[in-house]
């Protein structure tokens, strides 16, 4: 029944939309739940809004600060029968179950027509598909493991931008001697996870990363490489400042912006903070992928479309998907958001130095490392988070204990 209807719809849509993609018969109203509440984020979102409305739709904005809050509210509303037109998730397996529960509409028609599978990274295709059909529109690629550094501070301390994690550790002493915080780190589990995974990918390599998270290979924990990762991560604990615990990522970034700290490891959204302070990549600050293999951990955001029988809503959903994935919207949105366009066929030459570097790395699939959420269950991610945060915050915990706890977490949650 459903597939019949879908086929009919697809046929309809195919004929109609190819003619006049953005001219629906009636103005479509779309309520969108998301957690992009900050200035930069909402400015980026505005790029979608204006294009959607230009196409004749009406955007009803439901912004809820905090991913967990927004996702909880969205899922509750879907379950409660008061679903929005679209809602945000992180790229990954977060919405898998919602799709499995038959609570989402697929957008396979739009995706196959647009040839999405050929345009986006392979790991993303898996992440937005369920049972072979595409259920989500990916809107961006965020590099998760950029090392941002303040050029002036590094210069003053007489150190070069770090290439490896050993460089980072080595530079710390000189920076500290210059009266600055060597390494600014925020104090929330997800930030600690981001740092650990950066070390894992950069110091341990994409292969180890993959064995651990994608293959759930517990034996990977016994390797020399993992041991070295645990060791480096443990040593990083000593070069952060006292104010770290509980600090948010953007306050931390501001330490680098203002020159009180030398470096921070963060996703590319941190560029927004430098931008807001009027700084330009390559001038006041720089960005680097630490580690010889130049691995870039990629994640991003997607929008999914709750199941509905309402034809107008269905049409609005497809229109949203079309708009969000369109090349113009991709460039405009990601320019403001600080991320990389999710489709590989757009021209990135107008983007900043860091984004261009990211796009360059993206062209080599071997250097792409999917963010944990794309490959591991939320359960495993959570369990590992608990271990990482314990290790990071307990100076008396050694690498052996860390490996042992890591093993427990994988065995229980894997």
């Amino acid at each position: 029944m459903r597939s019949l209807k879908r086929a009919a719809l697809a046929a309809c849509a195919a004929s109609a939309i190819t003619l006049a993609a953005y001219t629906p018969a009636v103005a479509q109203e779309a309520e969108v739940i998301h957690w992009w509440t900050s200035g930069g984020e909402s400015a980026a979102l505005q790029e979608f809004v204006s294009r959607f409305e230009a196409a004749g739709g009406t955007w009803v904005d439901t912004a809820i600060a905090g991913g967990t809050n927004a996702r909880t509210a969205g899922i509750n509303r879907i379950v409660g029968g008061d679903a929005p037109t679209a809602m945000q998730f992180n790229t990954g397996r977060q919405f898998e179950e919602v799709a499995a529960g038959g609570l989402l509409n697929d957008i396979e028609a739009v995706a196959s027509r647009g040839g999405w599978r050929d345009l986006i990274p392979a790991s993303f295709v898996d992440a937005i598909s369920y049972d072979g059909e595409i259920y989500a529109v990916p809107v961006n690629i965020h590099g998760q493991n950029w090392m941002f550094y303040n050029n002036a501070v590094l210069e003053e301390a007489g150190v070069a931008p770090p290439q490896t994690w050993e460089d980072v550790l080595a530079a710390a002493e000189k920076i500290e001697a210059a009266g600055k915080i060597p390494f600014a780190q925020g104090g929330e589990p997800w930030q600690e996870r981001t740092l650990f995974n950066a070390v894992l990918a950069g110091h341990g390599g994409p292969e180890l990363y993959d064995r651990l998270y994608a293959q759930n290979d517990v034996a990977a924990l016994d390797t020399e490489e993992f041991r070295a990762v645990a060791d480096v991560f443990g040593r990083l604990r000593a070069i952060v400042d006292e104010g770290s615990p509980g600090r948010s990522w953007n306050e931390t970034t501001n330490l680098v912006v203002t020159g009180r700290a030398a470096m921070q490891l963060m996703g590319d959204w941190a560029k927004g903070e430098f931008l807001a302070a009027g700084q330009t990549p390559g001038e006041e600050y720089g960005c680097a992928l630490v580690g010889a293999n130049e691995a870039l951990i990629i994640g991003g955001d997607v929008f999914v479309f709750p199941a509905t029988d309402d034809e107008a809503q269905r049409a609005a959903q497809e229109m949203l998907a079309e708009v969000m994935f369109s090349p113009e919207a991709q460039i405009a949105f990601n320019n403001v958001k600080g991320s990389i366009p999710v489709r590989s066929d757009v021209d990135v030459s107008g983007m900043d130095a860091c984004a261009q570097r990211g796009a360059e790395v993206m062209s080599d699939p071997a250097k792409q490392v999917p963010q944990v959420n794309l490959v591991a269950s939320s359960d495993l991610v959570g369990a590992v988070d608990d271990v990482i945060t314990q290790y990071w915050n307990d100076p008396s915990m050694d690498a052996d204990a860390f490996v042992a706890r890591f093993r427990e977490a994988m065995e229980i949650a894997g």
């Binding site: 998301h34 900050s38 200035g39 912004a63 809050n69 509750n76 409660g80 029968g81 306050e251 807001a276």
Partner: protein, 306 residues
């Protein structure tokens, strides 16, 4: 046994006059006492002081000075921004929208839950029905269960009757979660009233609701004050329930506050955050300041005697 009616009013009156030792002169002990009370007051005032100071400073001063420094050039700009123009997502309306939403949630929630609590307490105290006390015990036990546990089933239940994400829904949720403590308050208060009064009203021909409305409720002022204060505070300060049940049209002030505070602007506008925070706290604070005297009196009048 002297008149319990008289005693309770006497007690209530006594509730605001100190009965401890009468000081004779300013001894070392007295000075120590005042010193202790003053330093305790300082401890209690500190966070409010920080919030207030910060909300009056321009960003420049916040960046440079410590949190205790007095504002050199006090300004209400942050307050204006917090109230009317701070942004969350695409909307830049400050928390004023949330304020009115909160008021719309607050008024019916408080009235309904206080009335229902009073009715429950009255029925439990004066009209024994088998099993009623077991219900009450379960209700009290329910007060201890973290309400995160109830969220999901409630969402399902509400949506099945069509009040999910509506004003009615959020009001009902507040009534449900306010019920244990409201019922407890009134039950204990009515249990402390002389039963003869109830008997007299029954002999005089009062029925269940007549006695409640015409005899009991007019006597309940002290406990009504306590109940209203607790409920206003609870409802106003709620975050999770509002976020989950209110729907996007009715999001309360705390949710808006959270949106503003956790919205990551380029540089965090601490003064706006703090001003929004203070604004959000204004209603319960005002209630406490205005009715504080009666609050203590109400508790003294037997409100929380176990």
């Amino acid at each position: 046994m002297t008149s319990a009616v008289v005693t309770s009013t006497d007690r209530a009156r006594g509730g605001i006059t100190a009965r401890g030792r009468r000081p004779r002169r300013l001894t070392a002990g007295r000075i120590g006492l005042y010193a202790f009370l003053a330093s305790a007051a300082l401890f209690f005032l500190l966070p409010a002081w920080i919030m207030l100071l910060t909300s009056l400073k321009p960003m420049e001063e916040i960046r440079q000075g410590t949190i205790f420094a007095l504002p050199l050039a006090p300004t209400l700009e942050a307050w204006a921004a917090a109230w009317g123009s701070a942004c969350t997502g695409l909307t830049c309306e400050g928390i004023s929208v949330g304020f009115w939403n909160s008021v719309r949630i607050l008024v019916p929630s408080v009235i309904l839950s206080v009335l229902l609590g009073a009715l429950n307490g009255y029925a439990l105290s004066f009209w024994p029905v088998r099993g009623a006390n077991v219900l009450f015990a379960i209700l009290l036990a329910g007060a201890f269960v973290p309400y995160q546990v109830f969220l999901y089933p409630l969402v399902r239940m509400f949506s099945s009757v069509g009040i999910y994400n509506s004003l009615a829904g959020i009001v009902l949720v507040h009534v449900i979660f306010g019920m244990p403590i409201m019922t407890l308050l009134f039950r204990n208060f009515y249990a402390s009233l002389p039963r003869e009064l109830f008997n007299a009203a029954r002999v005089d021909g009062g029925g269940f609701f007549t006695i409640f409305l015409r005899v009991m409720l007019p006597m309940s002022t002290p406990i009504l004050v306590v109940a209203v204060i607790l409920q206003v505070t609870g409802v106003w300060n709620d975050f999770i329930l509002g976020l989950t049940f209110a729907g996007r049209e009715n999001l309360p002030m705390t949710v808006q506050l959270n949106n503003i505070v956790n919205s990551t602007h380029g540089v965090r506008l601490y003064n706006v955050d703090m001003a929004a925070t203070v604004l959000t706290g204004v209603v319960p604070l005002a209630i406490y300041f205005v009715t504080g005297r009666w609050f203590v009196r109400g508790i003294a009048a037997g409100a929380v005697k176990g």
